[in-house]
């Protein structure tokens, strides 16, 4: 029983990692109705920016804030410069641009920073305060994720800007007719998603160590988490993240062994989606004929 509990706790810690990136995916989906496959690499790149600042001597919190701001600007720039020219292209062409972005960011980061792992500092104390099975950082990261979740929820639910953004994504023509600047809504969405990704990256790096390939596996799980929780529901995405983390750990330790846990975890997630196609907490979409 002890062992099971430890695996669940470890699973919640990794789940927090998936949840934080899943929030960025939800953000970009809410703003653009597309899933950005380069979100992980953008987050990784932001984290390297933070690392550069901290290495140059800047204290943690100023570097953190500067990186969040920088990530926001990066997201806006990417949308304006790289995504805008293809906004009328078929959806798959845009997906290919995302893939190109992923590949470019990964390769350039590896070239500049090499592939040796780097330690990334944590703002939380080094001693475990939740018992020896969870580091303070693990718990703190989950806390930060929940704060971001609340901010996101409040933004979409209670602000006009959030409403405008969702409108722009759902029905660009009608949105324009009521005076919403759709182009800038998209850019804003990208900026916010990139900023959330940057926060996620800075929470993840102390746990998994910073290297250019840090986000590859995490993106897959975050994608699955976001979908199983409901791609348009930030709370669902966080729930999905924890679910995937715990599921993966428990399957690997007690059910199927580590060699197949990836396949089985994904199969289960797909099973959920077949039964509930919008995920646990997503809105069921009804299309008009």
């Amino acid at each position: 029983m002890d062992a099971f509990l430890h695996q669940v706790i470890a699973g919640l810690a990794t789940g927090g990692i998936y949840a934080s990136l899943a929030l960025a995916l939800v953000m970009i989906y809410q703003a653009t109705h597309l899933v950005n496959f380069a979100q992980g690499e953008m987050a990784m790149f932001s984290t390297y920016m933070a690392w550069t600042l901290i290495n140059a001597g800047m204290p943690y919190w100023p570097a953190f804030l500067l990186t969040v701001a920088f990530s926001f600007v990066l997201g806006v720039l990417i949308e304006r410069i790289i995504i805008r020219p293809v906004e009328n292209a078929p959806v798959l062409a845009v997906v290919v641009v995302f893939i190109a972005l992923l590949v470019i960011l990964n390769s350039v980061t590896g070239w500049i920073y090499t592939y040796t792992i780097k330690t990334f500092p944590s703002p939380f104390p080094a001693e475990p305060i939740f018992g020896k099975y969870v580091t303070s950082h693990g718990g703190g990261a989950i806390g930060v994720t929940l704060v971001v979740l609340l901010l996101l929820y409040a933004f979409f639910r209670f602000t006009t800007l959030g409403l405008a953004m969702r409108a722009a994504a759902q029905n660009p023509e009608s949105a324009r007719l009521v005076g919403i600047r759709v182009g800038w809504m998209l850019a804003l969405g990208w900026g916010l998603a990139a900023a959330i990704g940057g926060v996620a990256g800075m929470m993840i790096a102390p746990i998994v160590y910073l290297d250019p390939n840090m986000m590859g596996g995490i993106l897959l799980y975050a994608f699955a988490a976001a979908l199983v929780g409901g791609i348009d529901n930030p709370g669902g995405a966080v729930f999905g993240g924890f679910l995937v983390g715990v599921l993966e750990n428990v399957l690997g330790a007690f059910v199927i062994g580590n060699e197949l846990k990836l396949a089985v975890a994904l199969a289960l997630i797909i099973g959920v989606l077949v039964v509930r196609p919008s995920g646990f907490f997503g809105k069921v979409l009804v299309t008009r004929v």
């Binding site: 020219p85 078929p90 290919v96 470019i104 979908l227 197949l260 396949a263 989606l273 299309t287």
Partner: protein, 330 residues
């Protein structure tokens, strides 16, 4: 097809047949791979381009076809040409079975499901309970077939012609299929599936069958690829293969048969070009190539060629109208 198009096609096929006698064995090998990828991309294009079901995991079917061939040839001594129909049948079944539950999934969700398939398959291939068959992490080495009946060709050239023949057959079958009722049903489902069902198209059957046939094509391509490379291992079939296939059909042209060939040329040769340009970050160069291609030709190379031909045709028409006569309003 118009006469001009038929003549153009005949010229192309003749050129393809003459190729191995004018270039080195190494280039012949490269073009064999282009043919292999063209068949694989045709399969994916059927599913994603014509039928609108996005697949981020078609590399898995390629792997299944490749492993079928390798296992049959290495463990059971089946001759290489006989493994193709078997691999095709296995992939048809696998694709159909995967397509059934996938019926419930749309767009993003289907993308995730197929992505999951593409990611999990290497793990399955490495699983040690299956190691007896799959060779586990070490993979399986197979022998290159020799030209039959003592033809005066070397192994590379024979393999090229074999692959060319299979590819032509697969393309003709696909063209037939996509031109007919089934093809129109597929496109109808992609564009307006509710209306299509209201018109009597059995959406579930068509979608699952499309999945199956698409998997068959990519699986046969995998078999041909395994024979050409003479080696299969889990590392050859990771998620990047699936992603590269997707890139291939987009660059080549969605919902286009010729697009499969353009896409195959792109995914075979552009990474090499990127490598020549920069060793420091070859992927970055490849990414830049991708973005440039999508910007310049958002409908793919096939789409761009179609537009070019239409433009030329229009210009031809305009210039043939004598000046001063009444012009029809556009």
């Amino acid at each position: 097809m118009s006469r001009k198009a038929l003549i153009g096609l005949a010229v192309l096929i003749l050129a393809a047949c003459a190729l191995p006698f004018f270039v080195s064995n190494y280039r012949t090998f490269q073009f064999t791979l282009v043919l292999v990828y063209a068949v694989a991309l045709l399969g994916l294009n059927m599913l994603t381009g014509y039928n609108g079901q996005i697949s981020l995991g078609h590399g898995a079917f390629y792997a299944v076809g490749a492993y079928c061939t390798a296992i049959l040839m290495d463990r059971f001594g089946v001759p290489y040409w006989a493994t193709l129909p078997i691999a095709g049948a296995v992939c048809l079944g696998a694709g159909f079975l995967f397509g059934l539950p996938a019926l419930r999934l749309e767009g993003l969700y289907l993308a995730l499901a197929t992505f999951a398939l593409g990611v999990s398959l290497p793990q399955l291939l490495k699983y040690d309970r299956l190691e007896k068959w799959t060779g586990g992490v070490q993979g399986i080495v197979i022998n290159k077939p020799d030209p039959p009946f003592g033809l005066p060709l070397n192994a590379d050239q024979w393999l090229y012609f074999f692959t060319l023949a299979v590819a032509i057959l697969m393309f003709v079958l696909a063209w037939n299929l996509l031109r007919g009722r089934v093809g129109r049903a597929m496109a109808a489902i992609r564009d307006q599936h509710v209306a299509a069902e209201a018109m009597g198209v059995d959406s579930a059957m068509v979608k699952s069958l499309t999945f199956g046939v698409s998997a068959l094509y990519t699986g046969v391509a995998g078999s041909l690829g395994a024979i050409a490379v003479q080696f299969v291992a889990p590392d050859s079939f990771n998620i990047f293969l699936s992603i590269v296939f997707l890139v291939g059909i987009v660059v080549g042209g969605l919902a286009s048969i010729s697009g499969a060939v353009y896409g195959a040329l792109f995914i075979q040769f552009v990474p090499n070009i990127a490598d020549e340009i920069s060793k420091a970050a070859p992927w970055a160069i490849f990414g830049v190539f991708l973005i440039v291609f999508v910007y310049l030709m958002p409908m793919g190379v096939a789409g761009a060629i179609r537009m070019l031909l239409a433009y030329l045709a229009r210009r031809g028409q305009n210039s043939s109208v004598p000046a001063g006569s009444a012009r029809p309003s556009s």
